[in-house]
């Protein structure tokens, strides 16, 4: 007898605790868009001046290419919030939910975050028809923590001398992991291994998030290896996190704590917090250079650059950033970035 198919919940953004999705009987599927591909003109008009990646997600939905039973959008960037508003207006048939988390851990913010997660649970259980209970929460916590362990192993391989996994393979595994059940995700992540040339320049990547691994591959083909990153589709993705809880309320409380403990994506973090994360992660990976590609209309990362440069300068690591990168101009930007990074390393 085959098991009934679990509903697939598309997730745009990085604020959804997978433990709650899994415990509700659904499979989380992170929707990230891509670096390349057309943005249909209607989608562009509807979103206005938003990151092209959001435009590609909207194009995907409009073309019926979103293979999900429902969509949860996180209010962790204005592009995502706009996407939610537009979908609410033009796609009333799509089960749609917004997760809107505050960023500073005040008493009032914690209360609102609890309300948001409770709303998410209600949406999910309405979709699956499966109420959360202690057993389901425990099962999903164990499974998600196993993924967390696999991610630690992946980080260790990337930080090895020489690395035992390229950045492109690692990012592909991370993106896939965010679309799979934890058990499959563990297999996928543990399978991410490759030889890396001794001569490759060790690079930490910051700037805009990477919706696919295309630019990682291009950078690594030109003599770099990306040993770590601090953007929120890579190692900054909220994956492998779970809490022990006897009730849904306890689980929500624990996950609210975890939310406020992390450094979010650039659009939500302070520049000071993100710069500290950049420096500390680059140090752990013994990166010789830090690079970033910042998309046009993804404005927040550009505001972090001076703080990042200052902190990295204190540890003798150079920062190279390509800013205002327009659609179609990504490969040129990566070539220049690679030249800067490898040139600096050779000097």
């Amino acid at each position: 007898m085959t098991r009934p198919r679990r509903p697939v919940v598309g997730i745009v953004g990085n604020d959804v605790p997978r433990q709650l999705v899994l415990a509700s009987g659904a499979t989380p599927h992170r929707v990230t868009g891509s670096w390349t591909g057309d943005v249909d003109p209607v989608a562009r008009d509807l979103l206005g001046a938003a990151d092209a990646v959001a435009g590609r997600i909207l194009s995907q939905v409009r073309a019926g290419r979103l293979d999900c039973d429902a969509l949860v959008v996180c209010a962790d960037s204005q592009a995502n919030v706009r996407l939610f508003y537009v979908l609410r207006s033009i796609a009333p048939e799509l089960p749609l939910h917004l997760v809107d988390l505050p960023r500073a851990p005040s008493t009032a913010a914690r209360r609102f975050a609890r309300f948001q997660f409770a709303g998410l649970v209600a949406f999910l259980t309405g979709l699956t028809g499966q109420a959360l209970d202690a057993a389901a929460l425990a099962r999903s916590a164990d499974a998600e923590r196993a993924l967390g362990s696999a991610l630690e192993r992946l980080r260790a391989r990337r930080r090895a001398e020489p690395p035992q996994c390229s950045g492109a393979l690692a990012l592909e595994a991370l993106l896939d992991a965010a679309r799979l059940d934890p058990a499959d995700a563990v297999v996928r992540v543990d399978g991410a291994r490759s030889d890396v040339p001794q001569t490759a320049v060790r690079v930490h990547l910051t700037g805009s998030s990477h919706p696919d691994a295309g630019l990682y591959r291009a950078l690594e083909e030109q003599g770099c290896v990306i040993v770590s990153e601090d953007h929120d589709t890579g190692d900054g993705a909220w994956l492998g996190v779970a809490v022990d809880a006897a009730t849904v309320e306890e689980a929500i409380d624990g996950l609210v704590d975890r939310h406020f403990d992390r450094v979010g994506g650039s659009a939500t973090a302070s520049s000071a917090a993100r710069a500290l994360l950049t420096r500390d992660t680059a140090l752990l990976g013994a990166a010789r250079g830090v690079g970033g590609v910042i998309r046009e209309l993804d404005e927040a990362p550009a505001w972090d650059v001076p703080d990042q440069a200052e902190l990295l300068g204190e540890i003798g690591v150079a920062l190279h950033v390509q800013t205002r990168v327009h659609p179609g101009d990504e490969l040129r930007a990566v070539r220049e970035l690679a030249r800067d990074l490898t040139g600096a390393a050779a000097a």
Binding site: D45, A75, S106, A302, W303
Partner: protein
């Protein structure tokens, strides 16, 4: 009928408001020199707390407009770039930060005294980073409030929002902002070493509501008036200057003066253009680089602009009544921007206003950073109101090149003249 008002025949309330604003600003430096703490607050921050605590404040976006008008924008953006920060991002919001580094003789009106407090809600991806920079200046501290998204987002909010705001915005969103405003109050009380008088805050809220009521009456007068008695370019300063003095008796009186000026012109039968045959709505920010544009279609097309968002949102968006002034204040700001930009709240409101003012066509300036523009245009077109969309920035003349020609063609081709 008296006939066409001359361009020089400025509305007295507009002239008074502009003069008052300049005089008030010049008094700021003296107050700060005398030991008072100045606050820089974003437009959607709860100014009424500052007013009640007796803290003078400057609104970030208003100060930006002065910097732009005084041609100090390029120098200010140069200062931003010199710090390694992007000078192409959120320019309207960041100008004051850059202007603080200008020498006094290049700064508008001698420059803004250094603020002690910088307060904003986290609008967009960048505002909090701009205010983070303010907090690094010697003597300035930053306070950030949360910004939540518009869930729920009902149509028909204008009939509910002044009293039944819990229904419009949802109790949880208001709970959050109320809690954070209480934290802001405690933060300010500690630094100022004085306590907020809640009765005083209630008075400030009442004055702000009274001001909104005058604005509503004025809006209703203009909606019903045929022909249009006052150019829209006079209405805007008459509304917006008092808005930044909200919660004072002066602001209430200024709003009433505007109302009385409008009523007087209606009573005297004044017409901006006696041969009015097309009534137009301008959605979006004002085109301040070309104010004459608003009059450019009168002679050939009998077309007058009868509406801008500035008076309309002042009429419908600000009043909040309630026994708890902090909660009512949270309800004022929790979704103010949503009313203008988030569909279906925004789109249904623009349709209501278009119908109420009897407009024959809409010119819709869709700026880069304003969401939902296409949905607003579609809602108007569905009601049979033709819309011309112009994509561009009101602050960048290059992006709106040829706008007069496009509006002319729009009027000729799509907006029939009334008999």
């Amino acid at each position: 009928m008296t006939g066409r008002t001359a361009a020089s025949d400025r509305l007295p309330s507009a002239a008074e408001a502009t003069a008052y604003q300049r005089e008030w600003f010049h008094s700021l430096a003296a107050r700060v020199d005398g030991g008072e703490s100045l606050a820089l607050a974003n437009a959607d921050a709860p100014h009424e707390v500052l007013r009640s605590l007796g803290v003078p404040y400057v609104v970030n976006q208003w100060w930006s407009s002065i910097i732009s008008a005084k041609r100090a924008g390029p120098g200010s953006l140069g200062s931003v770039a010199a710090r390694g920060l992007p000078d192409y991002s959120r320019q309207y919001d960041v100008l004051p930060l850059g202007a603080q580094d200008l020498p006094a003789d290049r700064a508008p009106w001698g420059g803004l005294p250094e603020p002690r407090f910088a307060i904003t809600e986290r609008g967009g991806d960048v505002t909090h980073k701009i205010f983070e920079q303010w907090g690094r200046r010697a003597g300035t501290e930053t306070f950030l409030l949360s910004r939540t998204a518009a869930v729920p987002a009902p149509e028909g909010w204008w009939d509910l929002v002044d009293h039944r705001w819990e229904d419009v915005f949802g109790a949880e969103r208001i709970d959050l902002l109320q809690g954070e405003i209480e934290e802001l109050i405690a933060w300010l009380e500690e630094r100022l070493d004085r306590a907020l008088d809640r009765a005083r805050l209630a008075e400030v809220m009442a004055l702000a509501n009274e001001q909104a009521e005058w604005n509503r009456r004025t809006r209703d007068l203009l909606a019903a008036a045929r022909p249009l008695p006052v150019p829209v370019t006079d209405i805007i300063p008459s509304v917006m200057v008092p808005q930044w003095h909200r919660g004072t008796r002066w602001a209430v009186d200024a709003a009433r003066r505007l109302h009385d000026d409008v009523a007087d012109r209606i009573g005297r039968g004044v017409a901006v253009w006696p041969g009015e045959r097309r009534r137009l709505m301008w959605i979006g920010r004002g085109l301040w680089s070309d104010l004459e544009m608003y009059r450019a279609f009168q002679e050939e097309f009998g077309a007058v602009f009868v509406w801008s968002m500035y008076l309309a949102i002042a009429a419908d968006g600000y009043a909040r009544y309630g026994d708890d002034p902090v909660r009512a204040l949270a309800a004022r700001f929790v979704g103010l921007t949503d009313l203008l930009y988030v569909p279906p709240m925004s789109s249904s409101w623009y349709v209501k206003e278009a119908l109420g003012h009897g407009v024959d066509g809409v010119v819709h300036l869709v700026a880069d950073d304003t969401p939902g523009g296409a949905l607003i245009s579609a809602a108007l077109e569905e009601r049979g109101i033709p819309v011309l969309e112009i994509r561009g920035s009101n602050a960048d003349a290059r992006s709106i090149a040829g706008v007069r020609e496009r509006i002319g063609a729009f009027l000729r081709d799509r907006v029939p003249a009334r008999a």
